[in-house]
């Protein structure tokens, strides 16, 4: 039995909409398309009064969502491509993130802002160019008041989306456009568990060791998880045991899970699809480097995309990290 990321997100939202009538959806292309990536497909038919098509004006409709949250609804605001979040940066950074503080914690801002992060070429598809393929998580990670969820596996999409909707703070829910159709094989009983009303993954302490190993810690962000897992498998053939961690949530970041792993391995590699400079990987390395018992025995390494705007078409994959980059980095540390 298999479930795709898209279906997992839809299922999570549907469940929460059934449980709580304050949950509404707004954004572009909601009613006829179920959102431009299809994550709301079927929901406008089920909840016609709770799905709103908004004009092509991201700043204005994220602000509309802010107002809905302030008034007591729990809006899910869809931004389609994560690049479009920059059109709404004022709404998200100057309003969404500030409201709780402005009212000294008395007013919750329960909203989820969904967006498809990253490029298409990671898995061999064609890229859509420099305004449709960027990773934006690091931009918002510097804004207190926001929470950032960035899962990879469909079951995590489901459990974390449900948590995000129930959370009383604004959560940026970044799914990855190249992994939207990714399937996760599951046993039938696990699939039944996903349908359960209480299948929910908390936002805190969300770091997840997805492959155990003792020689090196690889923290892989979202789309880089299969890259890291492929690399780990090849390294195993050469006798190197890599531990791979999926943080799943960047804000609040589960430093403890990474720290525990690096205490064991003494080595840390972060692989991210975002540009290598100024990305969230820098933050992860900084967290570990600042630990009281600083467990790094070798220099840490951040592997990211080239620091250049993203080209369209097949050229996109030439600037993205590949398993060979990860393998080479691990070997250089041995």
């Amino acid at each position: 039995m298999k479930i795709t990321s898209t279906k997992a997100i839809t299922l999570a939202i549907q469940k929460e909409m059934e449980l709580d009538e304050r949950v509404i959806i707004l954004g572009e292309d909601i009613i006829n398309f179920g959102g431009s990536m299809g994550i709301f497909r079927g929901l406008p038919e089920k909840f016609p009064d709770r799905c709103l098509d908004m004009p092509v004006a991201e700043n204005g409709f994220v602000q509309f969502g802010n107002g809905c949250a302030l008034a007591g609804l729990r809006p899910i605001v869809d931004l389609a491509y994560s690049d479009f979040s920059l059109m709404a940066a004022d709404a998200i950074i100057n309003t969404t993130a500030k409201m709780c503080f402005e009212n000294f914690g008395k007013t919750p801002m329960p909203m989820v802002i969904t967006m498809a992060n990253g490029g298409m070429a990671t898995y061999g598809s064609t890229g859509s160019g420099c305004n449709h393929a960027q990773c934006v998580e690091n931009i918002f990670a510097n804004v207190p008041g926001l929470k950032i969820v960035m899962p990879y596996f469909p079951s995590d999409m489901l459990g974390l989306m449900r948590s995000a909707i129930r959370d009383n703070d604004p959560v940026l829910f970044l799914y990855h456009k190249a992994t939207a159709g990714r399937r996760e094989s599951m046993a039938a009983k696990d699939l039944t568990e996903l349908e359960d009303d209480e299948y929910i993954i908390p936002l805190n302490n969300a770091g997840h060791v997805i492959r155990e190993g003792s020689d090196v810690t690889i923290v892989a962000l979202q789309s880089m998880i299969p890259v890291a897992l492929d690399a780990a498998q090849e390294l195993e053939a050469e006798g190197i045991q890599a531990e791979v961690i999926d943080p799943r949530v960047l804000m609040p970041f589960d430093t403890e899970t990474v720290l525990k792993s690096v205490r064991k391995t003494g080595k840390l590699i972060v692989v991210q699809e975002a540009h290598s400079r100024g990305g969230f990987g820098c933050d992860i390395v900084a967290e570990i480097a600042q630990a009281e018992d600083m467990p790094l025995k070798k220099p840490a390494k951040i592997i990211g995309a080239l620091n250049t705007p993203i080209p369209s078409g097949f050229a996109e994959c030439m600037m993205m990290p590949h398993k060979e980059d990860v393998i080479a980095a691990v070997k250089a540390l041995q």
Partner: protein, 337 residues
């Protein structure tokens, strides 16, 4: 035909106007004494709009006063708390961290005040969603009144707000005060079209212009019509044309202005909303000079007493301002400060 009003109503408008003018001048004084450590955006010369709007709304309506309608704050909050807040004191309404501009209170039993945003046009768009959601939640007898200036109206997001309002029909009134200045930029360099409300009308909202915003009764009538219309589900715009006498915030240079002679002329009487209304009240036999003098002395003494008490400024307290519970409503999933 000229509309007639009860003596009681006219005097309550006058008292409101006189109190607001007194508040404004006392805040100027506080700025020059060095008592205010943040920006004091002065509504000097345009006080009629806020007082007219306050007379037109119900207690259950929501107000977003932004830069130049501080009367909204003290009419719904405690004046002592507001002035202590302006002086940055720990015993201010928000422990001296909000001053007036970032004050907000939106619970069910709150003062029903929506905060401004330092980036213009933003809250206009936010409050369209807020007004829509209140109506969606069944509160369809409430109205949201949103202030803006012509500067805000140049922001792209203002158009997004107006378009969304025209599409989703929240109970909302946009008051646009065209006060001739966006910080240091005169209206003719801000907008080729001097009728700012026509831009909102192009998005599908009905709009009315009050050509002389120093006439408090004209302001009141237009805003009352707009509020009534909004309450039936037709969002609309009232543009009030007036003149800001002070700089963008008190203490900024203001002498570069080419219309400074017009300001002085207005202050001499014909363009002063307070003196103009006094003239009306005298002509209609509603009040006499003795009443005006008595009211002036009364509000002056009251403000002085409040300011004196507030002058004992309590310094900001770290624990009252910086707490995870203030940044996140679900602090357990909020990480460290």
């Amino acid at each position: 035909m000229e509309k007639t009003y009860s003596k009681e109503f006219l005097l309550s408008l006058y008292d409101g106007l006189k109190t607001f003018r007194c508040y404004v001048l006392k805040m100027h004084e506080a700025v020059y004494k060095g008592l205010i450590r943040s920006s004091c955006h002065s509504p000097y010369g345009q006080e009629a709009t806020a007082i007219a709007a306050l007379a037109a709304v119900r207690d259950t309506d929501w107000l977003c006063p932004k830069h130049r309608a501080q009367a909204v704050y003290y009419s719904r909050y405690d004046l002592q708390g507001l002035i202590s807040e302006m002086l940055g004191s720990d015993d201010g309404l928000r422990h001296g961290a909000a001053y007036d501009f970032h004050l907000m209170d939106v619970g069910e039993d709150s003062a029903r005040i929506l905060s401004g945003s330092g980036t213009l046009g933003s809250v206009e768009a936010q409050n369209v969603g807020f007004a829509w959601a209140r109506k969606y939640l069944g509160h369809d007898d409430e109205v949201v009144v949103q202030w803006s200036g012509e500067g805000s109206a140049s922001e792209g997001v203002s158009y997004e707000a107006w378009c969304n309002a025209a599409l989703y029909k929240p109970n909302m009134v946009f008051i646009i005060e065209t006060n001739q200045w966006a910080l240091s930029t005169p209206l003719y360099r801000e907008s080729a079209n001097p009728n700012i409300s026509e831009k909102a009308a192009a998005c599908g909202l009905s709009a009315e212009i009050v050509e002389d915003g120093t006439d408090i009764l004209a302001c009141y009538e237009a805003i009352q019509r707009a509020v009534d219309k909004a309450r039936t589900g037709e969002p609309c715009v009232v543009e009030i044309k007036n003149r800001r006498w002070s700089a963008h915030f008190e203490g900024q240079p203001n002498d570069f202005r080419e219309d400074i002679d017009k300001v002085h002329e207005a202050q001499a009487g014909p363009g002063d909303p307070v003196q103009r209304f006094e003239k009306y009240l005298l002509e209609h036999g509603v009040a006499d000079q003795e009443y005006f003098d008595k009211k002036a002395a009364e509000v002056n003494a009251m403000m002085d007493e409040v300011i004196l008490k507030a002058s004992d400024v309590k310094p900001p307290v770290y624990e009252h301002l910086f707490n995870k519970n203030f940044v996140y409503a679900t602090p357990e999933t909020g990480g460290d400060l």
